[in-house]
C-alpha cells in the first residue's frame, strides 16, 4: 500500500471555507424522503402559474424534459440551445441504454438494488438521499417514455426487452438498438415542440448563454448572444435552470459533441455558484483510437458491446502480428483473467485503466500501440451472425465507416476516451445551487454519480431531473414569486450585458498569431497527460503552471477573425476555450487536493498493492464544492454520510 503524498500541498493553490451544513434532504427513512419532500413542497395554483416565468438553458434530456413539463404545467418558459434545433442536443448521441428498476427479468432487481449499485458504483462519493430518489423515479421514466412513443426494443411477446451493462449483475437496461439517447431525446423534443406550438414555451435556438444575471442575490436572468446576428440579448425570469451538459471537451478530444461547453456553468460559477468535484471525469473504455493529429473528436463504441465482445491483447509485448495470426494461447483476455467475477463487464474506470496499463506495458495494438482488441469472433460463433448484426449492426457500421476496417472479420481496436463529467455545479436536494433561484439539472450538476458513473445512468438522471424532480422542487421555489419585475435598464442587467460585450470586443481585438483550436488542443494535451486516467502530485502541480501560462498566451496571442455582428464560429469557440482554460486549472487543483483514489479519479500515490484504487474515507468522504475567487478558489466541504450502504472498497474480482 502506498500513500506518500505530502499533506495539504494543494493549499498553496486555494483557501478553505466553512463546510456545507445542509443539503435540504428530508430526514427519516430513505424510502420516504422524496415523498416527504413533495408533500411539504409549496404548490402553485394553476391560475397563478401563468404569472411565473422560468428560463431553461439546454434542450437535452434534462432541459428538454424540464421545459416541456413546466410549460405543460402552465408556467411561462423560455428555452435556449446553441444548436439550430432543440433535437440536436448532445443527449442524442447516447447509444447504450437507460436503467430502471422495473425488475421485468425477475432477476432480483429492485429500487434498493439500483440505489445500492449506484452508490457503490460511484465509489461512495454520492449522496444517498439523491441516489435513492433517482432509483425510485427510474420506473416512472420508462412509463413516461413509452407513453410518448419511444420505440424501445421489445421481445416477441411485445413486452419490453432489457440488456445488462457494466458494473452490475442484473439486466435492467432499456434500449432502442444502439440509439437510445436519440429515441429518448426525440421523445422529449416532441413533448417540447408540442408546448412550443401551444405557446407555453418560447424557443430560442442558435442562442448561446454567455452570462448569468444576479439581482439582490437571486438568479434572475441570462445574457445570450444570437449566434446568427450577433445581437446581445438579455432575458429575465423568476428562476433560471441550467441544463447545459458536461465539460468533457476541456480535454479537446472527447466523445462529446463539438459544441459541448462549460461556458454556462463556468459563468454561473464566476457569479458565485459552487463548482463541485470538477476532477471527477469518466474515461470510457471502448472508443475508437485516435488516428492522427487532425482528429477533432473521438467516437464511442457503446459499452453494450462488452456484453458479447471479449477484450484482449497479445501476451507478448511488441507483437506486430495481425490479430488473426495470433493463436488463442498467445492472447491475454486480461479483464477475464484479473476480474473473473465481472470479466469484460467491470465498471468503466477499471476497464479503462486496465487498458492503459496493457498499453503502457507495450502490449497495445494499432497505430502508436494505443489500442486493445474487442473481439466478436466467439459471439458470432455462439449467437450467429444475424443475431450479432441485429444487436450491434449500427455500431459495427459506424466502426467500419470511421476506420475502414470490417469488425465482423477483424476484431475492433478500442482505447479509452473522455466521455462524461461527474463534476458540475453544486446543487442541494432540490437541485438548487447555492445561488438562490439558480437550478441545475442533468450532466451540468454534480449529483448522483459520485466519483464514477455506471453505464446507462446519465440518461436516467437527465430525465429524472427534467420530468420528475425539477417540476416539483422548482414549483416550491416559484410559489413565493412572482418576484419584482426587472427591466433592461436595471443596473445588474446593464452590467452583465456590458461584461459580455467587452469580452467579445477583447477577443476580436487581440489579433494574435495562434488559432483558437491550437490553444484548445494544447489545453487538451495538458489535461490528458496530467489530469487524465492517472494523476500524481508532481504532474498536477506542473499542469497548473502550464495552464496558467497557456491562459496568458491565449489572452495575448489568440486570433479571432471576423466581427461580432454575423455568424462567427471562431468567436463562439474562443469564448468556450477561454472558459475551459480556467476550468482546467480548477480541475487540477481539485485533483491535487483529493489525495486519494476514488472512481474515475486515480491518484498514483494512493493505490493498493495490486494496483487498485485506494480511498481514504476518513479524510475525503466529502464533496468538494469550490467557490470562485479572483486570487484563488475556496474549498467548501460537504461531508458525506452513509446510513444505508456500508462503506467498503469496491471489488469486482
Amino acid at each position: 500500500m502506498t500513500t506518500t503524498t505530502s499533506p495539504n500541498v494543494s493549499e498553496q493553490f486555494h483557501a478553505i471555507g466553512p463546510d456545507i451544513a445542509d443539503t435540504k434532504a428530508p430526514a427519516g427513512p430513505i424510502e420516504k424522503r422524496w415523498d416527504d419532500r413533495k408533500f411539504n413542497a409549496k404548490l402553485v395554483n394553476p391560475a397563478n402559474r401563468r404569472k411565473l416565468s422560468v428560463i431553461v438553458v439546454g434542450t437535452g434530456l434534462a432541459g428538454g424534459a424540464a421545459a416541456a413539463t413546466l410549460g405543460e404545467a402552465g408556467y411561462q418558459v423560455k428555452s435556449f440551445c446553441y444548436q439550430d434545433s432543440p433535437r440536436r442536443a448532445h443527449s442524442i448521441a447516447a447509444q447504450g441504454g437507460i436503467n430502471a428498476a422495473k425488475n421485468y427479468r425477475n432477476d432480483g432487481d429492485s429500487i434498493y438494488r439500483l440505489f445500492d449499485d449506484t452508490v457503490k458504483g460511484g465509489d461512495f462519493r454520492a449522496r444517498e438521499s439523491n441516489v435513492y430518489r433517482l432509483a425510485q423515479v427510474s420506473v416512472n421514466i420508462i412509463d413516461q417514455c413509452v407513453a410518448q412513443g419511444v420505440p424501445f426494443a421489445r421481445e416477441y411477446g411485445g413486452l419490453l426487452d432489457n440488456r445488462s451493462f457494466g458494473g452490475v449483475q442484473v439486466s435492467r437496461t432499456f434500449y432502442a438498438r444502439g440509439q437510445t439517447g436519440q429515441q429518448l431525446l426525440i421523445g422529449a423534443y416532441q413533448a417540447l415542440e408540442r408546448q412550443i406550438g401551444a405557446g407555453t414555451v418560447e424557443m430560442n435556438t442558435r442562442h448561446e448563454m454567455l452570462e448569468l444575471i444576479m439581482v439582490d442575490n437571486r438568479a434572475r436572468g441570462i445574457v445570450v448572444r444570437d449566434m446568427v446576428t450577433g445581437e446581445i440579448e438579455t432575458h429575465t425570469a423568476d428562476a433560471v435552470v441550467l441544463a447545459t451538459g458536461g465539460y468533457g471537451n476541456v480535454f479537446f478530444l472527447s466523445t462529446n459533441a463539438m459544441g459541448s461547453n462549460t461556458t454556462a456553468t463556468w459563468r454561473a460559477h464566476k457569479k458565485g455558484a459552487y463548482f463541485a468535484n470538477p476532477c471527477y471525469t469518466q474515461i470510457h473504455p471502448t472508443c475508437i483510437p485516435v488516428s492522427g493529429d487532425y482528429q477533432s473528436k473521438l467516437t464511442l463504441m457503446s459499452e453494450s458491446l462488452r456484453n458479447d465482445g471479449r477484450i484482449w491483447v497479445p501476451k507478448k509485448a511488441g507483437d506486430e502480428r495481425a490479430a488473426a495470426d495470433i493463436p488463442e494461447d498467445e492472447r491475454d483476455y486480461y479483464l477475464e483473467r484479473i476480474y473473473p467475477a465481472f470479466g469484460n463487464l467491470v465498471p468503466r474506470d477499471i476497464a479503462s485503466r486496465a487498458a492503459k496499463y496493457q498499453c503502457d506495458d507495450g502490449k497495445g495494438v494499432g497505430p502508436g500501440g494505443l489500442g486493445v482488441y474487442l473481439d466478436f469472433a466467439e459471439a458470432i460463433e455462439r449467437l450467429g451472425l444475424p443475431a450479432v448484426k441485429a444487436k450491434y449492426g449500427n455500431l459495427f457500421d459506424m466502426y467500419a465507416q470511421i476506420t475502414g476496417e470490417n469488425p465482423y472479420e477483424t476484431p475492433m481496436r478500442i482505447y479509452p476516451a473522455v466521455h462524461y463529467t461527474m463534476g458540475g455545479l453544486w446543487v442541494d436536494y432540490d437541485l438548487q445551487s447555492n445561488l438562490t433561484g439558480l437550478f441545475v439539472a442533468g450532466e451540468a450538476n454534480f449529483s448522483e454519480h459520485g466519483a464514477n458513473r455506471l453505464g446507462a445512468s446519465a440518461l436516467m438522471q437527465g430525465l429524472a431531473d427534467g420530468y420528475f424532480v425539477l417540476p416539483n422542487t422548482l414549483a416550491n421555489y416559484l410559489a413565493d414569486g412572482p418576484y419584482e419585475k426587472i427591466d433592461d435598464s436595471h443596473e445588474a442587467v446593464v452590467e452583465a450585458r456590458r461584461a459580455v460585450e467587452e469580452r467579445i470586443a477583447t477577443f476580436l481585438s487581440i489579433n494574435g498569431t495562434r488559432t483558437v483550436d491550437s490553444f484548445h488542443k494544447e489545453l487538451g494535451h495538458i489535461m490528458w497527460e496530467y489530469c487524465g486516467m492517472e494523476r500524481t502530485e508532481e504532474g498536477l502541480i506542473k499542469a497548473i503552471g502550464l495552464i496558467r501560462d497557456l491562459k496568458q498566451a491565449f489572452w495575448s496571442d489568440v486570433k479571432v477573425t471576423g466581427v461580432n455582428e454575423e455568424l462567427n464560429q471562431t468567436l463562439e469557440r474562443a469564448g468556450r476555450v477561454a472558459d475551459f482554460i480556467e476550468l482546467g486549472e480548477l480541475m487540477c487543483i481539485d485533483a491535487l487536493n483529493r489525495r486519494e483514489s476514488c472512481g474515475g479519479h486515480f491518484r498514483a500515490e494512493s493505490q493498493t498493492e495490486d494496483g487498485e484504487a485506494l480511498r481514504h474515507d476518513d479524510e475525503f468522504a466529502y464533496v468538494s464544492a469550490w467557490e470562485f475567487g479572483e486570487e484563488r478558489p475556496t474549498l467548501h466541504k460537504e461531508p458525506l454520510e452513509y446510513e444505508y450502504v456500508e462503506m467498503k472498497s469496491r471489488s469486482y474480482k
Binding site: A153, I186, E193, L567, Q569
Partner: protein, 248 residues
C-alpha cells in the same frame, strides 16, 4: 493526398454567394470530410481569411446538424452523413464542389449553413403523442408487437438532417414528414391523434414552402438513415383516411 475544393461562400442571407476555390494539402485518407474542412479553416484563419461556416455538432452521424452537397450529392458519394464521410472516398488530386442544401424552405444563413427551422414547425403541428408528464400507465401494459416496434424504430431513426429535401428536385420534405407519421402511427399510443397528426403536419409542410412529392425517390437514395419511400405511401393513406373522415 492533395485536393482542391470549390466552396460556396455567402456572407449572409441577404448577400449573393459564389464558389471560391482553395487547395488543401496533406490530407490523410483517415480524416473525416469535416476534419478536412477544419484543416482548411485553420489555414484560412492564419491568412486572415474568413473561415468557412458549416453546421456540425456530434460528428457521429446522429445529431443531424451537418449536411452539405458534395459534387452535387447530398452528404456526398456515400450513403452516410457528411461528418461520417471520410477522405478515403476521394482520389488524390480530386476537385470537390461543396455547396449548402438548396431548397426554398431552407434559406442560406451563411456559407454552408442553412435554416432548417421549418422541420421543427412541422413537428409542432402534430409530430408528437400528447402524454402529459406523470400521466403514463405502467409501460408493460402497452404491449407492442415486435415487428411494429422495430418498424416504428426504423422510421424514428430519422435525424432531421434535411438531405431528403436537398436531394429532391421539388424540394419536398415529405420523407421527413412521413418518417414521423410512420413512427407514431405504428404504435398503439399514437392512434388517438393519428388523423389530426397527419393533417396538421402535411398542412404545415406545404405552408413552409416545401414542394410536393412526385415519387422520384431521390430522397430515400440520399437519406443517411435509410428511411424507405413506402413511408410516404403510408402518409398518403393516412391523409386520405383522415380527410375522408372529415378531419381537415
Amino acid at each position: 493526398m492533395n485536393i482542391t475544393v470549390r466552396v460556396w461562400r455567402q456572407k449572409n442571407a441577404e448577400s449573393k454567394g459564389k464558389m471560391v476555390t482553395y487547395g488543401v494539402e496533406n490530407v490523410s485518407e483517415d480524416m473525416s470530410f469535416l476534419e478536412m474542412l477544419d484543416v482548411l479553416n485553420e489555414q484560412l484563419t492564419l491568412t486572415d481569411d474568413d473561415p468557412i461556416a458549416f453546421d456540425h455538432d456530434c460528428r457521429e452521424g446522429i445529431c443531424g446538424a451537418c449536411g452539405v452537397v458534395i459534387n452535387g450529392q447530398a452528404h456526398g458519394p456515400q450513403v452516410t452523413t457528411t461528418c461520417q464521410l471520410h477522405m478515403r472516398s476521394f482520389e488524390d488530386g480530386a476537385v470537390i464542389d461543396i455547396e449548402p442544401w438548396r431548397a426554398g424552405a431552407f434559406p442560406v444563413i451563411k456559407d454552408l449553413v442553412v435554416d432548417r427551422g421549418a422541420f421543427d414547425r412541422i413537428i409542432q403541428a402534430g409530430g408528437f403523442i400528447s402524454a402529459p408528464t406523470g400521466s403514463a400507465v405502467e409501460a408493460n401494459n402497452i404491449p407492442v408487437p415486435k415487428d411494429n416496434a422495430d418498424h416504428a424504430f426504423e422510421s424514428a431513426a430519422c435525424i432531421g438532417c434535411g438531405a431528403c429535401v436537398a436531394a429532391c428536385p421539388n424540394g419536398s420534405g415529405m420523407l421527413f414528414t412521413a418518417a414521423k407519421i410512420t413512427h407514431l402511427g405504428l404504435l398503439p399510443q399514437g392512434q388517438p391523434e393519428r388523423d389530426s397528426r397527419v393533417v396538421g403536419m402535411v398542412e404545415q409542410h406545404d405552408h413552409e414552402g416545401f414542394g410536393g412529392c412526385t415519387n422520384i425517390g431521390e430522397c430515400t437514395a440520399a437519406c443517411p438513415k435509410g428511411i424507405p419511400l413506402d413511408t410516404i405511401s403510408r402518409l398518403n393513406r393516412d391523409l386520405l383516411g383522415a380527410l375522408a373522415k372529415g378531419k381537415a
